[in-house]
């Protein structure tokens, strides 16, 4: 009987150790800090919409560009050239501190960067 209870307690400790780790390191309410651009202009759609739907925007861009030959995207915020590297990453030039930081948090690995290029980050002071 005692053995079973000790076993169960050990199991619970192991199960909840990740939570415990976060409590100890003070990261329970952790939200990735994103480095948003220095306002060179508005995002292609609203911020909230982009947060939820940027993958759909990118898929639409991709299909429009490659399959339908449409090279420009019109939204209420303006007209954008359809390009992952040339448009998204021109503003969000610090991919590591924006896209990657959020994707790491969510455990997502978009496989775009085998082919699409990442612009060099201009040295910041």
């Amino acid at each position: 009987m005692v053995k079973i209870i000790i076993g169960l307690i050990c199991l619970l400790i192991i199960l909840f150790s990740p939570v415990g780790y976060n409590v100890i390191t003070g990261r329970t309410g952790y939200i990735p800090l994103l480095k948003t651009p220095q306002y060179q202009g508005d995002c292609v759609e609203g911020t909230i919409y982009m947060r939820k739907r940027h993958m759909e925007v990118l898929e639409r861009w991709r299909n429009a560009y490659v399959r339908d030959g449409i090279k420009r995207y019109v939204s209420i915020n303006g007209i954008y050239n359809i390009s992952l590297t040339g448009t998204c990453l021109k503003c969000h030039s610090n991919k590591a501190e924006f896209c990657d930081r959020c994707h790491d948090y969510g455990g997502i690995k978009p496989g775009c960067w085998d082919c699409h290029h990442i612009p060099e980050i201009k040295a910041e002071k």
């Binding site: 991709r62 490659v66 030959g69 992952l84 590297t85 082919c115």
Partner: protein, 250 residues
């Protein structure tokens, strides 16, 4: 609501629906009209002009540079969008012995023929390759699963497969154009990305001898239409009924 009001309401509703439908129809027909005014891109390559500069690789180099086509040491890994091959292998079916003797040392520029009736498109299981309205046989690298049926189907060897990760083998990366990755097939796209900006293909643009002539076959006044009407031209293996859009003139 009395009977009179009901009839008025129903009338307005019916009118509204009819108006909506007719607006839809008009806008659809306009969209269709715009689609009709398409091009038919084609190329003519002059043997004699090309042969004037022996060993010139300008068109190959510029194409492979702007499209991030890597260069491997081992030719088995090799990728090519545009390349030069001896006459007797490119035109192995032209058996006239006198022509063969005369053109023995000729090296012929080859690229995707952007066929009218492309066999690669028929076999592609994911529709990753398809023919556009303007005749360009496009690749959607996002859909390619690397089955290589298209390579088997293409009678011109215009497609190559990425056996290895190409990125380390690209000498100067052009960040404006994505490269490909291990496991996809790639080929010439008639510089579709330049055409959409109103530019002609890079190989045509750079040729110092103007050996490459590019244009719209639907436009009788385009240079390529005029040249093909005026001069004797041949196609690669036309009897396969693929309808190549790359023509060779002497």
């Amino acid at each position: 609501m009395n009977r009179r009001d009901f009839l008025k309401f129903a009338g307005v509703l019916a009118f509204g629906i009819a108006a909506h439908q007719s607006v839809n129809l008009i806008s659809q027909s306009r969209a269709r009209d715009e689609k009709k005014s398409t091009k038919a891109w084609a190329m003519a390559i002059s043997f004699s002009a090309c042969a004037r500069r022996e060993g010139c690789r300008d068109c190959i180099d510029i194409c492979h540079l702007i499209h991030n086509v890597p260069e491997f040491d081992n030719p088995k890994d090799g990728l090519r969008w545009i390349w030069a091959s001896p006459y007797e292998s490119v035109f192995a079916d032209q058996t006239n012995p006198f022509n063969r003797g005369m053109l023995k040392n000729l090296s012929v520029l080859c690229l995707c023929n952007h066929c009218d009736n492309p066999p690669c498109v028929k076999v592609c299981p994911t529709k990753a390759t398809w023919k556009r309205e303007d005749g360009i046989v496009m690749m959607d690298y996002h859909r390619c699963i690397g089955c290589r049926y298209c390579m088997a189907a293409c009678p011109y060897g215009a497609r190559s497969f990425n056996w290895r990760d190409p990125r380390p083998f690209i000498k100067n990366i052009n960040k404006d154009y994505p490269n490909r990755m291990k496991g996809v097939v790639e080929k010439c796209n008639f510089c579709e990305e330049r055409l959409s900006q109103g530019l002609i293909p890079a190989c045509v643009d750079i040729c110092p001898e103007k050996a490459l002539i590019f244009g719209d076959l639907n436009d009788p006044d385009s240079e390529v239409s005029k040249v093909l009407r005026a001069r004797f031209s041949i196609q690669r293996r036309p009897y396969l009924a693929t309808g190549p859009r790359v023509f060779y003139i002497f």
